[in-house]
């Protein structure tokens, strides 16, 4: 293996062009005092932010990305210990007292957060939110006009009327606009956006990202975008910093870094994202679990999970060094990307097999309590028809509120529909002969939040055995044997099965939930957003597992997700839902390559994609070493 010659040096952006940084973070260390000793969340972070740029910080849960940002404006709880420096206009923000830091917040550095609705006080009007910020310096003139203008600037219609509304009367996207309107009132030099679009639908996400980009250009405002979504970073960021275990492992210009990452972690992260337009399955995964912040390890923190690990990696801690074009914290940076051979999608239903599930003209209604007292109905699912063949994986895509979960609950037999029919193996559901218990033995449901789906006080193995106690009549030893087998199939190892859900990671919990659903060998599995709460590397593991098991057991699967890229890699056929109706359905290739309904086209266009073509490469000054077009992993469009 040829090693790229490199020299240790100070992290200095290659594209900075000698500009002076707006914010310069040096050796930032953050630890939290806990009963079990200190937890080191950030372990020496050095980073420069230049005026007007958008910097993306990417990492999995617990990598320290959010903590670093909160540390800069001293927003961490009292139990935190912060070392290092953060120079802003010659002032070290970390050395300031709470009284001294306050003027910087909002006027120099503003923040917006995830889940915009919970970031607004539920019992206060939008006006009183804006008033707090606008009237901050004792300025009590024209409060209303200023608030109105600020909302209007964020493209909120009839701002005068909306000022009187409460946060719960705003949609997620609108609430995020209000948050941004509050954050940019003080004309800050830096806006820190902490997962600003994670809780939002994909079409809304596209709009908010566009807003942020425009604002950055217009106000010459630098943005630090914290996210776990590489697609979002690729969409709007100028530079990217990848964090792992409290340290930056890779830093550089976005296009260059993502098109030829040198750190194995970045490369593995990229490979674990399902990419539309590429039927590659199984997804590449990163072995093992992300290293928790309270774990100490000698040598490279990524070594236990790295597939290129060498002896030296386990003893020597690597420094952030300049590689070909950007900075990498790796002793043996990867030279160039190999071309990934395209694999054919495995599994899939055959044409002539009979339909297992047949849904006809299904309508589900809810009664609304209307103020005037008249009865009104809301059709969550409206006249939906589809059928799923034996062994097929059928996906339902739609944004929140499109009725996909209501549909799934009806198919599971949990809520009877208003009209229409559901047939399972030619047996109608909700008829007099239909028995829920026998049905539930054949059909199982996997929920989005595994922690909520598991009993917090019961060991995993007992929970997995429960379906056997309800449906089967096996002896105790047999039950335990079968539970262990199923857990092993789902990739949960023996040492973990007596633990309680709280002592497992998110991925392990979802494996336990899957094991519980699969122990009775169901014919049909319904998965409601099975991976949406997980980091991409874990998400890939679970999706691979689901796909493999479905194939092995010849199981029919209905999978629901708002994430189109997940669908592309999992499903044989897809149905797209909009406002309770299925506007388009068909084989996955057709939906993704030739969507006919305008809404499906909009959905496709809204997904943040990591796409680099020759044009971008040509512009990139560092592109000369970047390899040819064919060698690039991510090439869409």
């Amino acid at each position: 293996m040829t090693l790229i010659p490199m020299k240790p040096c100070r992290p200095e952006d290659p594209s900075s062009g000698g500009r002076t940084p707006l914010l310069s973070i040096k050796n930032l260390e953050v630890s939290f005092e806990t009963m079990d000793g200190p937890i080191r969340a950030v372990r020496g972070l050095s980073l420069d932010l230049y005026p007007g740029e958008i910097l993306g910080i990417v990492g999995e849960t617990g990598s320290g990305k959010s903590v670093s940002c909160k540390a800069i404006t001293q927003l961490l709880p009292k139990s935190s210990r912060i070392k290092g420096s953060a120079l802003f206009q010659g002032v070290d923000l970390l050395k300031l007292s709470p009284r001294q830091i306050r003027p910087f917040r909002g006027d120099a550095i503003s923040m917006i957060f995830q889940d915009p609705q919970s970031c607004l006080n539920p019992i206060k009007t939008i006006y009183s939110h804006l008033k707090e910020v606008i009237g901050k310096g004792g300025n009590q003139h024209n409060l209303k006009q200023n608030a109105e203008q600020q909302l209007a600037a964020m493209q909120i219609h009839s701002p005068k009327k909306r000022l009187k509304d409460y946060p719960f009367q705003f949609s997620g996207g609108m609430a995020q606009r209000v948050q941004i309107a509050m954050a940019i009132w003080g004309k800050p030099d830096i806006l820190i956006a902490d997962e600003p679009t994670t809780a939002l639908d994909v079409t809304v996400q596209a709009k908010i990202l566009n807003d942020l980009k425009t604002l950055s250009k217009k106000n010459k405002m630098a943005i630090i975008l914290v996210t776990h979504d590489l697609g979002v970073v690729a969409e709007i960021c100028d530079r990217i910093a990848v964090m792992y275990h409290g340290r930056i492992v890779e830093l550089g210009e976005t296009g260059q870094t993502l098109s030829c990452p040198e750190h194995p972690y970045t490369r593995a992260l990229l490979a674990s994202i399902p990419v539309i337009g590429q039927a590659k399955f199984p997804l590449k995964t990163i072995q093992g679990e992300s290293l928790a912040a309270n774990m100490e390890i000698s040598g490279c923190a990524f070594a236990p999970r790295c597939c290129h690990v060498r002896e030296k990696c386990r003893s020597t801690t690597p420094l952030l060094r300049k590689g070909v074009a950007h900075f990498t914290r790796c002793l043996f940076p990867l030279p160039e990307m190999k071309k990934l051979s395209k694999q054919r999608t495995i599994g899939g239903g055959e044409k002539n097999t009979p339909a297992v599930l047949c849904v006809k003209n299904l309508t589900c209604r809810f009664k609304l309590d209307h103020e005037s007292g008249e009865k009104q109905f809301f059709s969550a699912v409206n006249n939906v028809s589809f059928s799923i063949k034996k062994g097929e994986i059928f996906g339902i895509v739609g944004e929140s509120g499109s009725g996909k979960s209501t549909l799934a609950k009806s198919v599971m037999g949990l809520s009877p529909p208003f009209s229409g029919s559901i047939h399972f193996n030619n047996q109608p559901l909700f008829s007099k002969e239909w028995n829920f218990k026998t049905y539930a033995a054949k059909v199982q449901y996997v929920f989005q939040d595994p922690l909520g789906a598991l009993d917090p006080r019961m060991p995993i193995i007992s929970q997995v055995m429960e379906p056997l106690e309800i449906h089967g009549n096996l002896g105790k030893a047999e039950k335990i044997k079968k539970a262990k087998e199923t857990l092993a199939q789902c990739g949960l190892n023996h040492s973990l099965i007596h633990r309680k859900p709280y002592n497992l990671s998110g991925g392990q919990r979802q494996r336990a939930v899957l094991a519980r659903a699969l122990i009775n060998n169901p014919e049909f599995l319904i998965c409601d957003e099975p991976v949406s709460a997980m980091d991409v590397s874990v998400q890939a593991q679970i999706l691979n597992l689901l796909k493999r098991l479905a194939h092995e057991k010849n199981m029919t699967v209905l999978i629901i997700s708002h994430d189109l890229s997940v669908m592309n890699n999992m499903c044989d056929r897809i149905g797209v839902m909009l406002a309770g109706q299925m506007v388009e359905q068909g084989p996955v290739e057709d939906i993704f390559h030739a969507p006919t309904h305008p809404y499906t086209q909009l959905l496709m266009d809204s997904i943040p994609q990591i796409k680099y073509d020759r044009k971008i490469k040509a512009v990139n000054p560092m592109g000369s070493n970047g390899g040819t077009q064919d060698e690039l992993l991510f090439n869409v469009g």
Partner: protein, 324 residues
């Protein structure tokens, strides 16, 4: 002034959501009616009043006369309707012992109780919320632990014991304060201290929990990250949210004020409703007991109705009929 204008507007907006308010109102009426029925039946079910009052040895003529005088010879339904029509007019009959109208006796005693309980409630609520606030701001620090220990001690110290201790110390040993009665301001000091030490703990605990919960919310960090002053965050953002949680406990508390601090009133010989209740139970003065129970029950119902109404003013989600 701006405040009444806003209150009036909010009141009006609240009336708009008819269903919420009318459901609460109807529920309050039903509860009040049930209290009437129970208090009526309770007296009838504890044996023949004539026998209890006149004794087992009473002559039949006397019993008959007694029953006729109090209307006890009529069918129970007729008795109830006449009781109901009188109760609505505020007439609860005459006390058996004092031979004065029950309502008059109660009205005589009410000012003494209220003049003690209202200041006690105001001090307990204001001081309790303040201390809860301080404790939550210093969560898990010395101030928090101190306030927690202090409030637990105050609450768990038996009222009769603490009252007697106060009398012994300030009246007998030092001779500074009068031990019984309510004629001067100095008479109020010891009963107030005895009541406040116990009730303070309730509000300290509740407001501490409410503020700790609220400070976990993202919007607090949100305002802080935009440079809003801590004091503004505390009083204009956190406090209104805490009010929501405190209203629930406040409703029960305010409703029970009328019954007075029964133990405290007895110890300090306070001429209020609490000591009246004890005395009338002892004397088996049933009309008086019945009147008092009605009064205590109705005041709890009214207080809770007021609280339901206040929820709507404090929380727009209830006003707009949104469930979360």
């Amino acid at each position: 002034m701006r405040l009444p204008g806003i209150m009036f507007k909010r009141l009006f907006a609240f009336m708009d959501t008819r269903s919420y308010f009318f459901v609460k109102l109807i529920r309050a009426f039903i509860t009040a009616f049930l209290i009437l029925v129970i208090s009526f039946l309770m007296i009838r079910s504890s044996g023949n009043p004539a026998q209890i009052y006149l004794g087992d040895e009473a002559r039949p003529e006397a019993v008959e006369y007694f029953n006729r005088k109090w209307g006890l010879d009529k069918p129970i339904f007729v008795q109830f309707t006449s009781y109901l029509s009188q109760a609505v007019k505020g007439d609860f009959g005459n006390s058996l012992i004092k031979t004065r109208p029950v309502s008059e006796i109660i009205m005589d005693r009410l000012p003494a109780t209220l003049s003690l309980m209202i200041p006690a409630a105001i001090i307990s609520i204001v001081l309790g919320v303040l201390m809860g606030m301080i404790a939550s701001l210093h969560y898990k620090e010395l101030a928090d632990t101190g306030i927690l220990i202090g409030s637990t001690l105050g609450f768990s110290l038996p009222n009769f014991f603490f009252g007697v201790l106060l009398i012994f110390f300030f009246s007998i040993v030092l001779g500074w304060l009068p031990a019984s009665g309510n004629s001067t301001i100095s008479h109020y000091i010891m009963p107030l201290i005895a009541i406040v030490t116990a009730d303070l703990a309730i509000f300290t605990r509740f407001s501490r929990a409410a503020f700790i919960d609220i400070y976990e919310h993202h919007y607090i960090t949100g305002f802080r990250s935009l440079g809003v002053r801590e004091s503004r965050i505390l009083f204009f953002q956190a406090l209104p949210n805490a009010a929501n949680a405190l209203l629930t406990i406040g409703g029960f508390y305010v409703g029970s004020l009328v019954s007075g601090a029964i133990v405290t009133e007895t110890i300090f010989s306070w001429p209020g409703l609490g000591s009246l209740l004890i005395a009338s139970v002892k004397a088996r003065d049933f009309p008086l007991v019945q009147g008092l129970i009605l009064l205590f029950g109705i005041s709890i119902v009214l207080a809770n109705l007021a609280i339901d109404f206040l929820y709507g003013i404090v929380d727009p989600r209830i006003r707009k009929g949104v469930t979360t």
